[in-house]
C-alpha cells in the first residue's frame, strides 16, 4: 500500500513517498515518482487512486502556475493548500477525488510548512504527517524521534528510520522510496532509497 510521509525541519520541509505503481497483485513499476514539484518552492506528495492522483495534482499545478502568470507573484504555501482543499471539497459531493496530499512548502516570510489534506478535504497544518498503512509505523517513529528545529542530517536520518521500519514491519512493504526536500533554495529531489532496482530489459 502507498506510503507517504513528511516533516518540517529547521529551515526546510522534507517529504518521502514510496515509488511502487501497483494494480491488485501486480507491481507495474517500482520507480513511479509520486512527489510533484508544484512550483519553485512547493512539493505535493500524493497517494491514492493513480488516475485521480496524477489528474488532480497536475490540475493544481497548472492552476498555481496560472495564478503566478496572472498576478506576477507566486502563491504562498498556505494559499496553495487552501486552494487544493477547496477543489477537493467542491468535488466531494459531486465527483470525489480519492487523493491524499501532503503539501510541503517554503515561504520567505513564514519559513517552511507542511499541510495535511486528506481525500475528504480535511486541511490541517502539521509538523509531521503521513498517509497509508505506512503511517502506522512512520508516525510512531516520528513521534518518538522528532523535535522542532531538526537539521537536514537529523531529518534525513529520521526519514531513513521510518523507511527501515516500514520495510521491516509492513507485510506488503514497498521496496523503493524517493525523498524530496524544499528550503529557501527551492524544491528538489534529495535522494532515492532503492532496495530493488528495475531490471534492465533483456537483450534480444
Amino acid at each position: 500500500m502507498e506510503c507517504v510521509f513528511g516533516l518540517v525541519g529547521n529551515d526546510f520541509a522534507v517529504v518521502a513517498a514510496d515509488t511502487s505503481a501497483v494494480h491488485s497483485i501486480l507491481v507495474h513499476k517500482s520507480n513511479e515518482d509520486k512527489i510533484m514539484i508544484l512550483d519553485s518552492h512547493k512539493l505535493v506528495a500524493a497517494s491514492g487512486e493513480p488516475g485521480d492522483r496524477v489528474q488532480f495534482t497536475e490540475y493544481i499545478q497548472k492552476n498555481v502556475a496560472l495564478y503566478q502568470f496572472r498576478n506576477g507573484i507566486p502563491l504562498t504555501t498556505a494559499a496553495a493548500a487552501n486552494f487544493t482543499r477547496g477543489e477537493l471539497a467542491t468535488a466531494l459531493r459531486k465527483n470525489p477525488y480519492s487523493v491524499n496530499i501532503l503539501l510541503a512548502g517554503y515561504d520567505k516570510e513564514t519559513g517552511p510548512s507542511l499541510y495535511y489534506i486528506d481525500y475528504i478535504a480535511t486541511l490541517h497544518k502539521v509538523d509531521k504527517g503521513a498517509f497509508g498503512y505506512g503511517s502506522y509505523f512512520s508516525l510512531s517513529m516520528m513521534d518518538r524521534h522528532y523535535h522542532s528545529g531538526m537539521t537536514v542530517e537529523e531529518a534525513i536520518d529520521l526519514v531513513d528510520k521510518c523507511i527501515t521500519e516500514i520495510r521491516s514491519r509492513l507485510v506488503v512493504a514497498p521496496p523503493n522510496f524517493v525523498i524530496k526536500i524544499v528550503d529557501k533554495d527551492g524544491a528538489r529531489e534529495y535522494a532515492w532509497r532503492e532496495s530493488v532496482k528495475d531490471a534492465a530489459a533483456a537483450s534480444a
Binding site: 471539497a89 459531493r93 495535511y116 486528506d118 475528504i120 480535511t122 486541511l123 490541517h124
Partner: protein
C-alpha cells in the same frame, strides 16, 4: 463506519453571570488514528460571538468558511455585527438548505446578546435549534458531557468559577471517549474581554 464519529470531537458551552464559556477538545483523528493534537474547533465570528463545530472536520471547515462569508456580507450591509440569535437562525437555515445531503456537523453557538445577556444554542446536522438556559453539548463525547454538566452546573457563576466548571466537565467527559481529548481549548467571554486558555489533560 459512522460519519459523525470519523474525526472525533467534543464541544460544550455554558452560561454564567453576564458571561459564557465555550470549550472544545483538541484531537483531530481519522477513526482510530490520531492525526493532530492542536485542532481548532471553535472560531470567533466577532468579539461577542463564537461558533464551535463538531462532527466531520471537512464539513466543519466548509461550513465555517460559508458562515464567515455570510457574516462579513451582513457586516458590510448592516454596518454592525450579527446578534447571536440572528446568527443561530442563519446557521439553521444554511444547514436545512442541505436537508437531503447534509453537512455532517453539529454546531454550538455562544454569544453575548443585547444588554450583555449570554446566549447559547446547539442544533443537529439539519438545523433543528435547541436553545438552553444553562449549557449545551455536542460531539462524540456528548453523552458524558450531558452528565458532567448537569451535575457540575450552578446558576450565575462568575467567570473564574465558570472556567473551572467547564474545564472539569470537559476533561472528565473526554477521558471516557476514545475519539476526543488530547487537551482542551476554553474561551471565557465577558462583556469586556475574551480569555482563551489551553488545558492539559490526559494526553491519550
Amino acid at each position: 463506519m459512522q460519519i459523525f464519529e470519523y474525526n472525533g470531537s467534543a464541544l460544550v458551552a455554558m452560561v454564567g453571570k453576564n458571561c459564557f464559556a465555550i470549550a472544545s477538545d483538541r484531537r483531530l483523528g481519522v477513526q482510530l488514528q490520531t492525526i493532530a493534537t492542536d485542532f481548532q474547533r471553535i472560531s470567533k465570528i466577532h468579539d461577542r460571538l463564537f461558533l464551535g463545530l463538531s462532527g466531520l472536520a471537512t464539513d466543519a471547515q466548509t461550513l465555517y468558511q460559508r458562515l464567515v462569508f455570510r457574516h462579513k456580507l451582513y457586516q458590510l450591509r448592516e454596518e454592525r455585527d450579527m446578534k447571536p440569535e440572528t446568527f443561530a437562525n442563519l446557521v439553521s437555515a444554511i444547514l436545512y438548505e442541505k436537508r437531503f445531503g447534509p453537512y455532517f456537523c453539529q454546531p454550538v453557538i455562544a454569544g453575548l446578546g443585547d444588554e450583555d445577556k449570554p446566549f447559547i444554542c446547539t442544533m443537529d446536522s439539519i438545523g433543528a435549534k435547541e436553545l438552553a438556559k444553562d449549557f449545551v453539548v455536542a460531539g462524540t463525547a456528548s453523552e458524558s458531557l450531558y452528565g458532567a454538566c448537569e451535575s457540575m452546573f450552578k446558576e450565575d457563576m462568575e467567570p473564574e468559577e465558570l472556567f473551572e466548571t467547564v474545564s472539569q466537565a470537559l476533561l472528565s467527559s473526554v477521558d471516557r471517549d476514545c475519539l476526543s481529548g488530547w487537551g482542551g481549548h476554553v474561551y471565557v467571554v465577558t462583556p469586556t474581554e475574551v480569555k482563551e486558555r489551553i488545558l492539559k489533560g490526559r494526553m491519550d
